[in-house]
Symmetry: C2
Subunit: 463 residues, 2 copies
């Protein structure tokens, strides 16, 4: 009797599954038809408006029928991706990110060319002496074993002390995770928070890694665009209006890579309030926090529960090639991030973790590096201001200039390639940081004379 | 006219989407009904047979209707996961992996207990002297910068030479990727090859990371079970029969963690032939390749295109805490793995890559370490053979024993916890490596006297 009943139900499940698949195929035929019409009329395949309508419709149906919303959105995302594929979406043009420019520059150098590297976001100065010495000491002591994924206890408590003294923020070990770079902290945070078919707000222009990692999670990056004319400030109404029912997080990062912008405390607070109101997580990437030349708020200064702070030793202590960063968040989120890290990389190399402890105590190096960057910003900004064809925001922090061409037809991809080819200067096109084809990024991770030389050559090419 | 047509098509798309979502909800109601009956009759929620029927049905419908198979399978997977959730699938019991045992052991040690660590798969000996010296030299030279994600050119060419001399295998730089450990190579390979709703064959018992990483990719691990009675050899018919239309890869790893088994050349070849025939990728994890005491085939010895070799510096040169490994594969697969690595971690620390070059030249250390492990296997095997309650396969390689209790009711989780609590000996329960509750893993990464002490205490507890 029950076996018969089970059998009958299984047949029904199979039948319903078949109907779903047939409808997906039917949907594809309709999508193809739309694709044909669009291509005849020269319209683009992506249609944000139509997607939003469908998202809302699916969510409302889920609520009526009791189907889990996340499941509904995931099915919708799968269907939309498939539609785009059959509509013959031309593979979106590979963006020229700082990483791709670095590869081009390295290639030229390997061919014997002399290249001024204003592309890569990496300080030219070295790590603190104590960090190198401590890594060496740890290597000699055989600190070359697996550690707990979270990090060695001594580094975790050093981080607790550091956060306490820097931000007057007291935290538990279970709220911390030591990661292979700030990049992995972002990767793991998104894995923990966002699922396929959901969305994450980013404020552009911004570091390309955010969009890449959101894509990897199968989620959608919703861009809040900022403009140099507004001093790269996000508009709060627009930001609030961009959050949809699928949005799970917003990523902010001030001082900003690439613009050097720092938002003021009230704007920071307003973003947090919107996030609280909409019940989304604030991911605050504070990697440039020590290169700040006006008051620079941290997420740790505010009363907010639903957040992830990501940071790194790479900029403050010039430790890019050590690959070590960290995250601060709730126990629940850190636990999920921990699991992702445990399955993908186990831990950060043990002797590097010992070095990192010393970095946290190297306040003097941090201050010295910060001072160098302040001088470079002053100098580079005054140098670039002489180039009439460009408009540049004077950075409040970080280590970049992000000039915008006054020429409406400026194409940053072409410009960067020509500049590298003809003048031997590498910069990163604005298109790597969002839809900014009139802008490009100059990294100040070089000696002053190199930066001046590079900017002068930019001026030459533009005139 | 065209605008109207577009509008009409968009309405139809919305309508079809709505039907799909409603059917998904309907499917859930049926699943709940099945769940209710199953729970009344005490049946388990998972139903492999029913899933296979659905997979085949969906694939046939996709072929008829022209819907992409991968899309169909992904939708099916989403629906099945949702059904399991509404059927109240009890969260599958957290497996006690070597990582969780390590955490327990470390906790006891931090409380002052004396623990014999036979749990963690990590040699007790140190890295080659030249490796440490070279890391130090590189640190002092300021080799602390970002590198290309693939690895520094000097390490890539050192790897090419190494593969040439060790395996007479000649390869291009574009076929190589230096990763933060063998673990990340597995993670990236699965990201590159498998999508949600697809499946990967694993031969159990095996390293828990395979299953964890397959899960993370949203794919299904299909287990080919091996038994000590068959000398841990996989049955070729069973292996072939386990491959379904959704299977994209098989992971093999010999010498095996945990059994120490090495399959012979004809078995290795047979697996490759099956994979070729079924057009699936062979992922061969050869991390224990240098701890081999019978003829040990490598995937590089065979004529096969569709493969990924993953390996690591962790065991051969006792460099676990350096987190450095590598992958060899086709240009296409390496390119995908490269992208995943670029977005998640950028690169392996620069000075560690210099150290890795020296490791590749440290043949003597590799041989010495291998000799130590051979002696330990001999000694530990003879020691464990005295325990009547256990049956143990004599390892052909690797660095473990995987004894199986003769007691049908043996529970390895309880046993491991009791052993740690009462005798201060940490081992890893067999359930971490597959469904092997009568087995446990003893790691030989300790001095001989510790291993003997640990095994004696195991004997005491069992008698």
């Amino acid at each position: 009797m029950t076996e018969e009943e089970l059998q009958r139900l299984r047949e029904q499940i199979k039948d319903v599954t078949g109907k779903i698949i047939s409808l997906a195929a039917e949907r594809n035929r309709l999508a193809k038809e739309i694709g044909r019409i669009k291509s005849e009329r020269g319209l683009q395949v992506e249609d944000e408006g139509a997607e939003l309508v469908l998202e809302r419709y699916v969510i409302s149906l889920c609520r009526e029928s009791g189907l889990d919303e996340r499941t509904g959105l995931k099915i919708l995302h799968t269907l939309i991706e498939e539609s785009k594929a059959v509509q013959g979406r031309t593979q979106s043009k590979q963006r020229i990110t700082p990483m791709t420019m670095a590869a081009k520059a390295r290639k030229l150098i390997s061919e014997g060319r002399d290249v001024v590297r204003l592309d890569v976001g990496e300080p030219d100065f070295g790590p603190p002496k104590e960090v190198v010495e401590e890594c060496i000491r740890a290597l000699n002591l055989g600190k070359t074993k697996y550690t707990d994924t979270r990090g060695i206890p001594a580094l975790i408590s050093a981080l607790q002390n550091y956060l306490e003294s820097k931000h007057r923020y007291s935290t538990q070990g279970e709220n911390l995770l030591v990661t292979p770079g700030g990049r992995f902290a972002i990767f793991a945070a998104l894995s923990a928070i966002v699922r396929e078919g959901e969305s994450v707000l980013i404020i552009e222009p911004c570091w390309p890694a955010y969009r890449e990692n959101i894509d990897f999670a199968g989620a959608k990056a919703i861009s809040v665009r900022t403009e140099i004319e507004e001093g790269w400030s996000p508009n709060m109404e627009e930001l609030q209006g961009s959050i949809t029912e699928t949005t799970r997080a917003i990523i902010i990062s001030y001082p900003s890579n690439p613009t050097g912008k720092i938002i003021d405390r009230s704007t920071f607070r307003a973003i947090i309030e919107i996030a609280k109101d909409k019940k989304i997580t604030v991911i605050s990437d504070e990697i440039y926090n020590d290169y700040a030349y006006t008051d620079c708020p941290s997420i740790l200064d505010f009363d907010v529960e639903n957040f992830v702070l990501t940071s790194s030793f790479s900029k403050t202590w010039a430790m890019t090639g050590f690959r070590v960063g960290y995250a601060v968040s709730s126990r629940e989120i850190i636990e999920k991030m921990y699991r992702v890290m445990a399955l993908a990389v186990t831990c950060v190399p043990e002797f590097i973790q010992y070095g990192a402890i010393k970095a946290l105590g190297s306040e003097q190096d941090a201050r010295k590096n910060s001072e160098i960057m302040r001088r470079r910003i002053e100098m580079a900004y005054s140098e670039i201001s002489r180039i009439d064809q460009l408009q540049t925001y004077k950075p409040d922090g970080a280590m970049y200039l992000f000039p915008v061409s006054k020429d409406e037809k400026f194409d940053s991809d072409n410009f960067a390639e020509t500049l590298l080819e003809r003048k031997g200067v590498a910069v990163s096109p604005g298109t790597g940081f969002g839809d900014y084809r009139r802008a490009f990024r100059i990294s100040l991770g070089q000696k002053e004379e190199k930066i001046v030389e590079g900017i002068k050559k930019i001026g030459e090419l533009l005139s």
